[in-house]
């Protein structure tokens, strides 16, 4: 819904939050539920309310714990029963420059005293982080600090050790450094967001004096939106691909009417510069692993010739799918999603035409930003945080190559008469082993974003995956698949819980990018082998239906499991005796 995307209508969201919350809860969508503990250094109520709306919109149903007023440090250091039993999935520390007051420099302080103050302030926070990390083992999100409301030393306030501006910047470097060196610790960049909003407006002091808010009420929706993006990203709900219109979106003018030479691109005019910079912005996403696609009402030939304009930054080869035809856009977009094997809610559709945007928004769950005119394209898309990343993984960077390789496989497939011959020709090699530290992050990411080939749809945090990998109560397997076209990375994950001589499958998932390659059989073979080694002679499989995982309803049956029980809503339990199990993998060379 565009209500919950940038540009936000702050006043409307604040005023109608009850109504919107009700409507979101009644829209019938499936949500994962998460416990979020907010440890506040000032009032947090409206922040919590706005955060709730944005999370509900993103498919996450939050339950909140809230510190007593400004008791963030006490809660973190000494705990309390309520927080302990709340079992947080995420801890969010809402502190602001107001919480630094005791440490801020005085003009009369000597150099040594000032260094001491900075160190004490840093210790105040790092003690708390260490404590939370040891106790709760869950992701922690920490605000950095907005710049001070006044500068006693003028411009020198940012350079001199006596300046509060200098001090706040040092603290921000400290938070950033901790974030980049600590797994599951995330920076909420208040410094950036408050600058975007305008610091004077942001730090309207009347809100502090009256309500103990360190920012004005109007800033809260934008603030909470930015925070929600981090949480979305932690649970793998960031978007994966762009679908871009061409005429007046990637260049000025209409290639079919104006011809390639008539397009506005390059450096000749302000408008041409704007489109060129927008193309560069889009192209940078490719390096991040965001897939670029085109959906344009154009003859295919014209579309390609536009991309071959001498000043075009984007080239035909930068795109995975180019749909340039006269079919309705929502049909083209749906088929792009299908061909990429991703859900259409992980697409961002960019089109200058409001009518096209409206139809697509009506028909598909993909994100459709109100991009305005070309000078605001970048800002609107960027501020929406669609591609918010919590870590830059090798897999993300290689994703474009992997999908290109997929396209090459499809092409080759059509040359084979027999599917088995085709699979043999792929020279597939798999590495199937127990969870290893280097893959834990990727494994957690997969549990949070795989929806279709996922038998139980259980979501795990990186901490839970780590814990599971460290005990022998579980048998775990990850599967990596390589073929002659490239490395697909980790694509399948299994978790089984050992109960004497029975193994209960708590998780069985596979990425849709390797459907119909026989990988599931290779996983099963290895699992059975492992079980036998441990004296386990029976595997129990569980299938819990969701709106998205119908494709694996009969997976266990197809594996040769017997149906054990099924309830009225379709939850089923399956059973496989291992004594006379015969290997089923035929095409993949394992380990």
């Amino acid at each position: 819904m565009s209500l919950f995307s940038y540009p936000l209508n702050a006043n409307d969201l604040l005023k109608n939050k009850r109504k919107y919350k009700k409507a979101l809860l009644a829209d019938g969508s499936n949500r994962i539920s998460k416990n979020i503990a907010i440890l506040g250094g000032s009032t947090v109520d409206h922040i919590k309310d706005m955060l709730e709306l944005f999370l509900l919109d993103a498919g996450i149903e939050p339950k909140f714990y809230q510190s007593e007023y400004a008791m963030y440090w006490q809660d973190a250091m000494f705990g309390n029963k309520e927080l302990d039993s709340f079992n947080p999935d995420i801890i969010y520390i809402h502190t602001t420059t107001r919480n630094l007051e005791a440490y801020l420099p005085k003009i009369t302080d000597g150099a040594e005293a000032l260094i001491g103050k900075l160190e004490s302030a840093q210790k105040h926070f790092s003690d708390m982080w260490t404590n939370l990390e040891n106790k709760f083992r869950c992701p922690v999100i920490q605000n950095n600090f907005e710049l001070p409301t006044y500068r006693l030393l003028g411009n020198m306030d940012g350079a001199d050790i006596h300046g509060s501006t200098y001090f706040v910047r040092k603290m921000n470097d400290f938070v950033a450094e901790h974030a980049i060196n600590t797994k599951s610790f995330y920076l909420n960049d208040v410094d950036y967001i408050s600058s975007c909003f305008g610091l004077d407006k942001w730090s309207d002091l009347s809100f502090w004096y009256m309500f103990k808010y360190a920012m004005c009420l109007d800033a809260i929706p934008e603030f909470a939106f930015n925070l929600a993006n981090i949480i979305r990203a932690i649970y793998g709900k960031s978007k994966k691909a762009f679908v871009l219109d061409m005429d007046n979106t990637l260049w000025g003018g209409i290639v079919g009417d104006d011809g390639v030479e008539g397009l506005e691109l390059g450096t000749e005019t302000p408008v041409a510069q704007a489109f060129t910079e927008f193309q560069s912005y889009i192209k940078k996403h490719k390096d991040l692993g965001i897939m670029l696609n085109v959906c344009s009402k154009n003859d295919h030939e014209n579309a390609i010739s536009g991309l071959n304009h001498p000043d075009s930054v984007l080239l035909p080869d930068d795109f995975i799918k180019i749909k340039a035809n006269w079919e309705p856009k929502h049909l083209n977009i749906a088929s792009i999603a299908k061909e990429l094997n991703i859900m259409s809610d992980s697409l961002v559709f960019v089109d200058d035409n409001p009518a096209e945007r409206a139809i697509v928004r009506e028909s598909l769950p993909c994100a459709v930003p109100e991009i305005g005119t070309v000078e605001s394209y970048i800002k609107t898309i960027d501020r929406n945080g669609y591609f918010e990343a919590v870590a830059i993984s090798e897999d993300d960077i290689k994703r474009n190559e992997m999908y290109k390789a997929n396209a090459a496989r499809e092409k080759e497939l059509s040359a084979f008469e027999n599917y088995g011959d085709y699979l043999i020709s792929l020279n597939m090699k798999a590495e199937i082993k127990a969870f290893a530290p280097v893959y834990l992050q990727r494994i957690a990411q997969l549990t949070n974003k795989s929806n279709q080939f996922n038998l139980t749809t259980r979501r795990y945090s990186a901490e839970e995956i780590t814990a599971i990998s460290e005990t022998d109560k579980y048998i775990t397997l990850y599967g990596k698949l390589t073929d002659k076209f490239g490395d697909n990375g980790v694509v399948s994950v299994l978790i089984g819980e050992v109960d004497e001589n029975v193994l209960h499958m708590r998780l069985w998932l596979m990425s849709c990018r390797v459907l119909k390659r026989g990988m599931e059989f290779a996983m099963l073979d290895t699992l059975v082998e492992k079980c036998k080694k441990q004296g386990i002679n029976e595997i129990r499989g569980y299938y819990y239906p969701t709106a998205k995982n119908n494709m694996v309803k009969y997976l266990y049956r197809d594996f040769g499991f017997a149906l054990f029980s099924e309830d009225e809503i379709g939850n089923s339990e399956w059973c496989l005796k291992l004594d006379d199990y015969k290997k089923q993998n035929r095409y993949i060379d394992v380990n």
């Binding site: 006043n11 604040l14 005023k15 109608n16 009850r18 109504k19 009347s206 004096y209 009256m210």
Partner: protein, 78 residues
């Protein structure tokens, strides 16, 4: 803006915030509206300011006793 118009607009704002129709009179106080607590008071003040394009002084926010006082401050400023 007439007093009647002010009350009509206020009733719309109250209906949005509290998600129910509320008949306002000058004597209406926070006691009379179930969910009118200190937090929704913040939302209310800010929504009224946005709707009428005016600002309350800090002193007024803490001293307003009922809807009548709120309406007369609005009437002074718009």
């Amino acid at each position: 803006m007439s007093e009647k118009e002010i009350y009509e607009k206020l009733e719309e704002i109250f209906a949005d915030i509290f998600d129910e129709e509320i008949k306002l009179s000058p004597e209406t106080t926070a006691e009379d509206v179930e969910d009118w607590d200190s937090l929704s008071h913040i939302t209310l003040i800010s929504a009224v300011e946005a709707e009428f394009g005016m600002r309350f002084k800090m002193k007024e926010v803490s001293s307003m006793k009922n809807v009548g006082e709120m309406a007369s401050i609005i009437a002074e400023r718009v």
